[in-house]
């Protein structure tokens, strides 16, 4: 069956990516591989999920898998939302620190005025062309 092959390939690819980035604690890696093996087993022996479902009081094996997946996704979302809020807080702290530092630096050592943008070429030629005027010392 094609679907089984697709699912197994997906699980195997996930496992391979995690193996490549194995800079985590062994306990994390073991947990993830445990989950992948459980997933693989559920693909190869679907009857198994049916038995577990009956054991915990769910009608069908597929339903049990769906429920677990939803809870897992919500957990992951919450995890990243928490990280996101924390990152926002850190960005604010850094912004504040930079803004105050810059103000204080400018107070002690005022910066030179910002460069004026270059004018269009024609106008510049007009303005900067040396004018030959009688009495001009430079002439």
């Amino acid at each position: 069956m094609i679907i089984r092959i697709l699912l197994l390939v997906g699980l195997a690819a996930t496992g391979w990516l995690i193996f490549l980035r194995r800079n985590r604690l062994p306990i994390h890696i073991m947990t993830v591989f445990g989950l992948l093996v459980a997933g693989g087993a559920a693909v190869i022996f679907p009857e198994m999920t049916q038995k577990v479902a009956e054991l915990v009081g769910v009608g069908r094996g597929a339903d049990l898998v769906t429920y677990i997946a939803i809870v897992a996704v919500m957990f992951v979302l919450l995890h990243y939302y928490t990280k996101f809020v924390e990152l926002q807080r850190q960005v604010t702290e850094l912004t504040r620190e930079i803004a105050i530092l810059r103000t204080e630096v400018d107070r002690v050592a005022p910066p030179a005025p910002e460069p004026k943008p270059l004018q269009a070429r024609d106008e510049r030629v007009d303005q900067e062309a040396p004018r030959l005027v009688a009495g001009d010392d430079r002439v």
Partner: protein, 223 residues
């Protein structure tokens, strides 16, 4: 009470207020107060305009919200030795003549909150007043305080109260956050009458009903 007005720092958070900020800052500076304007990454000339009347201008390189900007200004004012801190809106809705009233109230209070409903509201539509009263009722429920106006941007507090009042709500929920922190820290708080002048400009930057939902979300689910 304070004779030296320069020891009172007025913190103004401004975002794209180039049109009005010069006049607003000018009014406060003429009162003799120290002024720090936090330009929250404006796209217009807010920073330059605020410098003209003589405010210290701090620029957030990226926009972080009103709550974040106020806290930046407060941190800066504390560094400069502020004894009293005042928050003041940039859009011209406050009256600089109300600042001494709030600061003098700090003689026997840690925090003085402005109340437009003890004072006067100019140019507001009935719908806005109704929304603000509803917000105040909700806020009183949440904070357990009995205020007449929970979301007035004009407030004053003592230097010593600042550590208890650190704002972590970057956006608009900081107003409710402050009330909660006042309550938790057991600070002495008074409400003083102030005048709010709604103009077309300040109305355009005000908070509508949809923002109210966002503020509540921020309050409960952030930081």
């Amino acid at each position: 009470m304070p004779t030296d007005r320069s020891a009172t720092w007025v913190v103004i958070a401004a975002f794209n207020e180039g049109k009005v900020i010069r006049e607003v800052v000018g009014e406060v500076v003429r009162g003799g107060w120290s002024v720090v304007v936090v330009d929250d990454g404006s796209k217009d000339d807010t920073a330059e305009a605020a410098r003209v009347p003589g405010a210290v201008v701090i620029r957030h390189p990226i926009n972080r919200g009103q709550g974040a900007s106020l806290q930046t200004g407060i941190d800066y004012a504390l560094r400069r030795g502020a004894r009293y801190l005042v928050t003041f809106d940039a859009d011209g809705q406050h009256d600089a003549a109300d600042i001494p009233v709030l600061v003098e109230a700090l003689a026997d209070a840690d925090v003085a909150l402005g109340s437009r409903f003890l004072g006067r509201v100019e140019g507001a539509k009935g719908s806005r007043v109704a929304m603000l009263k509803t917000a105040t009722a909700v806020s009183n429920r949440m904070s357990g305080m009995k205020l007449t106006d929970a979301h007035c941007g004009l407030r004053a507090f003592r230097r010593e109260a600042a550590p208890s009042l650190r704002i972590t709500q970057d956006r608009m929920a900081h107003a409710s956050e402050l009330l909660r922190k006042i309550k938790t820290a057991g600070l002495r708080v008074v409400e003083m009458p102030v005048t709010i002048r709604y103009t077309e400009h300040s109305m355009s930057k005000g908070q509508g009903g949809i923002q109210a939902v966002r503020i509540l979300f921020d309050y409960f689910f952030r930081a």
